[in-house]
């Protein structure tokens, strides 16, 4: 068998986190009863006209700047014409001739080192509605709520060579967009979805092979499997002496294989032409500078700053900044309690554990920084010990309880009464003469047992350091 190289380019559709739609004032919120978030404009009623949402342009520019693109300071919209019931105007307002951003790139880490994936262009466009098939009545219904939700399409160069690179690129892209706040990138809600263009060629060949496209992929795992599956399929075809047909395919993640949808011959002619209902978008130098000046700190800078400013290890900084929600939580809680290391520990250990247990996506992390900070201070002041704190944190994580109140209401505060501790420790020692003898005979381990028994007798509400001290003192007498 020959050695093949896989060539992959992605078109990533990202829903922008604007409050209202791209050409009207309707809400962009996900969900809602069908056809409740639409108006004559986004449903394309006769006589209506689009008015561009300025925020969409700002978000697209912000994304372009973060992805190292040139900004097209006079850009235009075009119409992409095709019939489909989810597209009420029978055209999608998009950008073909003068997209807002061009020629960028981002660096990804690969096993072979750093690599730049080029960004060909970014354009702005409107989303379509959704068809819902009702199998009961055997009818198809249309929900126009998503119609006119702003999207940017980020088109990469065909620079990726493996599923790992694809996933690394997507992860990096997702993180940058989340840090910018231009999209929540919730893949399960379709806020970020990718079309995969893939071809294979013999290693060293100059020409690209014939490519296929797999549309609307919205999970990293499925994308990785689809790349693998399609790569194998194309190589098998070539090995059998057959050819790859240029076509659109649908990846079925359950069956772990792709199916042909339509070939190039059936490809629609979209009859693009300039959108006459919108005027060209003029982006002045001043506006561009304003947006540039407002760009938030992105992950790479943030990681370095965490190490420098908070003295936390690079490894921890990398994990915390891997999601914007967690980084925001970290900074807010650290500022409130003044204990960045403690905050970092709570995030790295307990938060990660609970997120895994509850299968929470990082973007859905909702722990309040105030409550985490207050919990840390409760431990710091010696009001509760760590064991209790972990239990309280679970309550914060799942039920958003107020730690101070919760500790008070459930009597979880540590017993501060030294004489009670002394008498309890004395009785534990009296009840366990064997352990006392073992300790005195040189078995240091016996001490731990006695401490544990004392904690238990105190119902966990003693300060472990103090218990240790007390047992030591009594044993050394």
């Amino acid at each position: 068998m020959k050695v093949y190289e896989t060539v992959i380019g992605l078109e990533v559709h990202v829903e922008l986190a604007t409050r209202t739609k791209i050409f009207c004032g309707c809400s962009t919120k996900f969900g809602g009863a069908p056809n409740t978030r639409c108006c004559p404009v986004c449903t394309g009623m006769p006589g209506t006209l689009p008015v561009l949402n300025k925020k969409v342009v700002e978000y697209a520019i912000a994304a372009g700047l973060a992805l190292g693109c040139r900004i097209t300071q006079k850009c235009k919209f075009d119409r992409k014409n095709y019939f489909y019931p989810d597209l009420p105007k029978a055209y999608q307002v998009s950008q073909l001739y003068l997209p807002i951003c061009r020629d960028g790139g981002i660096e990804i880490d690969t096993p072979a080192g750093r690599k730049t994936i080029g960004i060909h262009e970014i354009h702005m466009e409107e989303d379509a509605g959704k068809l819902v098939h009702d199998p009961w009545d055997d009818v198809t219904l249309v929900d126009y709520n998503r119609c006119g939700v702003p999207l940017i399409e980020i088109v990469s160069e065909p620079d990726m060579r493996s599923a790992q690179e694809v996933v690394a690129y997507l992860e990096k892209l997702k993180l940058i967009l989340q840090y910018l706040g231009v999209s929540d990138c919730k893949m399960q809600e379709g806020s970020l979805r990718a079309d995969i263009n893939l071809s294979v060629r013999e290693m060293g060949a100059k020409e690209f092979g014939v490519r296929t496209e797999m549309k609307n992929m919205n999970s990293f795992k499925a994308i990785a499997r689809a790349v693998e599956g399609e790569r194998k399929r194309q190589i098998e075809l070539l090995e059998e002496g057959r050819r790859v047909v240029q076509e659109t395919r649908r990846w079925d993640d359950n069956k772990d294989m792709s199916f042909a949808m339509r070939s190039k011959e059936d490809a629609q002619d979209y009859r693009y032409f300039p959108e006459p209902d919108l005027v060209p978008v003029e982006i002045s130098d001043e506006w561009l500078e304003e947006i540039r000046a407002r760009q938030p700190e992105l992950r790479d800078e943030k990681m370095l700053r965490y190490e420098r400013e908070y003295g936390i290890p690079a490894y921890d900084a990398a994990i915390i900044t891997a999601s914007k929600q967690m980084a925001d939580l970290f900074e807010a809680a650290a500022a409130l309690c003044g204990r960045p290391k403690e905050v970092s520990n709570w995030l790295m250990v307990e938060t990660m554990r609970l997120m895994k247990e509850a299968q929470t996506e990082p973007e859905d992390l909702s722990v309040s920084p105030e409550k985490l900070a207050s919990l840390i201070l409760l431990v710091e002041k010696g009001t509760i010990n760590r064991t209790v704190a972990k239990k309280v944190y679970e309550k914060i994580f799942f039920e958003d309880v107020d730690p101070e109140e919760y500790v008070k209401q459930n009597g979880l505060g540590m017993v501060q009464d030294d004489s009670l501790l002394r008498s309890t420790a004395e009785s534990v020692l009296a009840q366990n003469p064997q352990s006392v003898a073992d300790y005195k005979g040189g078995k240091a381990k016996a001490m731990g047992y006695l401490v544990g028994q004392t904690m238990r007798a105190m119902k966990g509400k003693a300060n472990p350091a103090k218990v240790n001290e007390m047992i030591q003192e009594l044993l050394s007498r």
């Binding site: 009623m45 006589g47 689009p50 019939f83 249309v142 032409f273 006459p276």
Partner: protein
Amino acid sequence: MEVTKWGAKELSDRIKARELSASEAVEAQLAQIERKETRYHCYTRVLAEEARERAKEVQRRMDAGELADSPLAGVPVAIKDNICTKGIPTTCSSRMLKNFVPPYDAAVIERLQAAGAVLIGKLNMDEFAMGSTTETSWFGPTKNPWDVTRVPGGSSGGAAAAVAAQEAFLALGSDTGGSIRQPSSFCGVTGIKPTYGTVSRYGLIAYASSLDQIGPIARSAEDCAAALDVISGTDLRDSTCIPKESYGYSKALTGEIKGMRIGIPSGYFGDGLDPEVERGIRKAADVLASLGAVVEEFELKAVDYAIPAYYVIASAEASSNLSRYDGVKYGYRTPKYEDLQEVYLKTRSEGFGGEVKRRMMIGAFVLSSGYYDAYYNKALKVKALIKQGFDEAFQKYDCILGPTAPTTAVKLGESLSDPLKMYLGDIYTVSVNLAGLPGISVPCGLDSRGLPIGMQLIGRAFGEKEILRAAHAYEQTGEYLFAPCTE
């Protein structure tokens, strides 16, 4: 009292002076419609009850001291049926939208209502404003009040005929390639297409978005100016509607045009121009000169390809604008279908008339892959050249004068068999739309058959005031000629 012969502004003034009430004005108008409508068929729908209700309300507002500054307070106004009216069917004279009831008012409707005008009905038109005769209407043609065997022009034929037949004091039409000016010329009334971007298109059902513009048709430049004062102005819902420093069109009608420089493109007097029309235009030029205007002929550049460029651009945009009529959401849907493809094909085959289909096919063709540059892009270049030619002319002249149409009203049925001939009739009007300029058609006498001749005055961008002033000054030199068969 011959109420229906009055001008719109005059009527409003008389209502304000309590000579008659808004309700009486509506009744007079409805009575005239009752008498004449079966003969001319100007309307797709008369809003008798709605108008009566509205007139009472307007009268109450006027009694309360409101609307003193509105030139259209109490005036019944008729609206071309491609302008959306909330709760009232807006059909574009098409089977496709026969039952379409818009859930909102067009911007111009809101402005008219705020000014105390009373909607009296919706006007017949060529289907989706495609045509120059009003014969492509699904509801049947409108007849010319000067001669019922002839067309009123189009596409705003219902509007021009209604104003000529005294079935309306004032009408709003739309003009994409001459649809206000040419029927105004054929029916002996005054109609202005404002500069692109003067009047909000929000609620105007699009034919060709980059060329469409709403404008008034009336029996005088004065009434057109009054209507423009009401309907023009910025609208946040239309990005192509451009803010201007001052509107105030009525104030521009000073009657004084001494020193105004008026150019006549000599190329306008060429093949295909009816000699009687030419004579009418030259006579009007003499009248303008006698009023003190400096009138001379000159060469206007690059007008040769205006018609093909217009039909390429307008059809391209139309093919896209009219794609939304697919039987899924509103309007006509074919009664029998097996699958989605068939819903589309049958709905559109049955819902649209021949002229609309022809233009959508031309449009889809010129935009299709491989032909875009040869047709659409080239047409855009012609458009730019036409604009450049006008820009140069307006370095020298305040207005450009010429015929509105090469002939007077043609016979019913003549144009449908020969669309190319019909397209050539747009020779003097389409370039004005391509350049985005204002143009007004003013009646300037009759031909030997007693049919009205129209002259067109073209202004520089946002130069409505100059052409209105010239039109008004010209109109002051004679009496308005009413169509004989309306007597």
